[in-house]
C-alpha cells in the first residue's frame, strides 16, 4: 500500500502522559511509540480507560504530553494544525448553524468567501448523502445524520490527517455499521491518513491497514497487527475466515 521507504507522516515518540492534581497523580499513558505512514488507516484499540482518547488528542496537538513528542512530517507538533482534522465522539455541530453552514465553518475560518464556502460545503453534503438537508438545523437531524454532517465538515477543508475519536460510538449498531461503510468508501475515494480510536474489534479490522492494540492503563502500544484483507473491502469480508482469524487474535490480545 505504501512504498517501503516512505517516511511516516505522524510519529508518536515515547509519548507519556500523567494527569497531576494537588493530591493525586494518574498515569494515563506509559510511553506510547508508533508511526503512521501517509494514506494509512490505523485503528487504536484498547480497553476503556487505557488512554486512547488522550493519545489521540496528543496526536492532534490539542494536549501537550507530559514527556515525549509527536512529529508531524518530521517536525515536532506543538499546537493544533489545520492539516490535522478531528472527528469527535459526539457530532459537535453548532445548533445555530444550518447543516450547510456547519460544514462551511472550516472554510469560513480559512477566509474563503461565504458563497464559495457554501458551494463547496454543498458538494460534501452530497458526498455524505445529505444534500436535501442543507438548510436543516441540527435539532431537526437524527443522530446518524448529525454525524454525517460532522464527517462532511471534517473532510471539507481537506486535512492530510484525520483523527477519529470513536466517532460513531453513540449511534445504534445499524447506523454505525452504515457510517463505517461510508467512511471506508470515502477514504477509498480520496486517500487520507486516518487514525481512529475504537473499542470495537470488527470495526477496527474492517477499516484498518494496521490495528494498534493498547494495554490497560497506563496505556502502551502492545501489539501492531497488520490487516492484510485486500481492498476494496466489502461487507462480505466480515464473514471471511481471514476476518474471523484476526478477530480471534485481537480478542486474545485484549483479554
Amino acid at each position: 500500500m505504501n512504498e517501503p521507504n516512505a517516511t511516516p507522516i505522524l510519529v508518536a515518540d515515547r509519548v507519556q502522559m500523567t494527569f497531576a492534581s494537588a493530591d493525586s497523580r494518574l498515569e494515563a499513558l506509559a510511553e506510547a511509540t508508533f508511526s503512521v505512514m501517509p494514506n494509512e488507516f490505523v485503528c487504536l484499540i484498547g480497553p476503556s480507560g487505557c488512554g486512547k482518547s488522550t493519545l489521540l488528542r496528543i496526536l492532534g496537538g490539542l494536549v501537550r504530553p507530559t514527556s515525549g513528542r509527536v512529529l508531524f512530517e518530521g517536525r515536532p507538533l506543538t499546537h493544533p494544525l489545520r492539516r490535522i482534522g478531528f472527528l469527535f465522539q459526539r457530532a459537535t455541530l453548532m445548533p445555530w448553524r444550518t447543516a450547510l453552514r456547519n460544514v462551511a465553518l472550516p472554510l469560513e475560518i480559512e477566509g474563503v468567501p461565504r458563497a464559495q464556502a457554501e458551494a463547496r460545503a454543498l458538494e460534501f453534503l452530497r458526498l455524505v448523502g445529505l444534500e436535501e438537508f442543507a438548510q436543516a438545523l441540527p435539532r431537526d437531524l437524527s443522530g446518524g445524520m448529525s454525524h454525517r454532517v460532522a464527517l462532511a465538515r471534517a473532510l471539507v477543508y481537506d486535512p492530510d490527517v484525520l483523527l477519529l475519536d470513536e466517532p460513531f460510538a453513540a449511534l445504534d449498531a445499524l447506523t454505525r455499521e452504515q457510517l463505517n461503510w461510508e467512511l471506508l468508501r470515502i477514504w477509498q475515494a480520496r486517500r487520507k491518513t486516518v487514525v481512529m480510536v475504537t473499542h470495537n474489534i470488527q470495526e477496527a479490522i474492517f477499516l484498518s491497514d494496521h490495528v494498534l492494540v493498547m494495554s490497560p492503563r497506563p496505556g502502551r502500544i502492545e501489539h501492531k497487527v497488520p490487516i492484510e484483507i485486500p481492498r476494496p473491502r466489502s461487507l462480505d469480508d466480515l464473514y471471511s475466515p481471514q476476518f474471523l482469524e484476526l478477530t480471534r487474535t485481537l480478542r486474545a490480545y485484549l483479554r
Partner: protein, 271 residues
Amino acid sequence: MQRLGELVSALQRKRGRVPRFNWEYVLIPAVLVAVIFFWDLLVRWRGYPAFLLPSPARVAARFLVAVRDGSLRLHTLVTLREVFGGLALGLSVAILLGYALAKSRTLERILAPYLVASQAIPIVALAPLLVIWFGTGALSKILVCALTLFFPVLINTIVGIRSVEADLMDLMRSLQATRWQTFRYLELPAALPVLFGGLKIGVALSVIGAVVSEFVGADRGLGFLVNLARGLFDTPLMFVALFTLMAIALGLYFLVSLLESLLLRWRWPEE
C-alpha cells in the same frame, strides 16, 4: 408578554406561515380594561379624594395636560437618556469584564470577592455619593444606572461564556481559529441565550437605577417628577409619571424580546 409578541407574529405572517389565533392578544388588553374598571369602581364607591386615589379619568386628563404643556416629554426624554446611557456603559463594561473573568480563573479568583462585596452596598446608599462626586447632571444618573444593572449582566455573561461546549472549543482550536473567530463564530452565539437573560434583567434594572438617582438629586426626569408631584399633592401627576416609567420598562423589555426572537430563531421549535 410571552416570548413572542404581536410584532413577531406579524413577522411570521410575512414569512408565509398561517398564524394560529392567539388568545393572548385579546386577554392582555381585556385584563387592562378590567383593572381600570375596578379601579374606577373603587374610587366611586369609597369616594376617595383625588390626592389619595385619583380616578382613571382624572389621571387621563392630567396625562393630556402634561403632554400638551410639554413637561411629560421633557422628563421622559431626560430619563430615557439616562437609561440608554446607563445601558450602554453598564452592558459594555459588564460584558467585557464578564468575558475576561470567564476566560481567566485567576482573574476571577482575584476580583470575585470585590465584586460580591460591591453588591452588598445597596445602590440607594451609593447614589448620594455619586451625586456628590459627579453632580446632579446626567453623568451621576448614568453611573447609578450602569451600576444597578452591572452585576446581573456580569454573572450572566460569565455563565454564558462558560457554557460553551468543550468539544466545540476543541474543534475551533483544531481549525486554528483566531481568538476573534472563536469569539465571533462560537462563544458569542453560544452565550447569546444566557446573555439575553441578563439583558432582560438589565433593562428593567436600568429604569430602577435612573429613578433612584433622580430621587437623590435631580431637577428633571420622571423620578424627579414623582417627587415633585408628591410635594404638590398632585397625585394624578404621580400616576402619570409612574405609568410612563412602566411603559418605558415594558417597551425596553419588548424590544429585547423581539431582538431575542429574531437572533435566536434556531432555539424555538418550528410549529
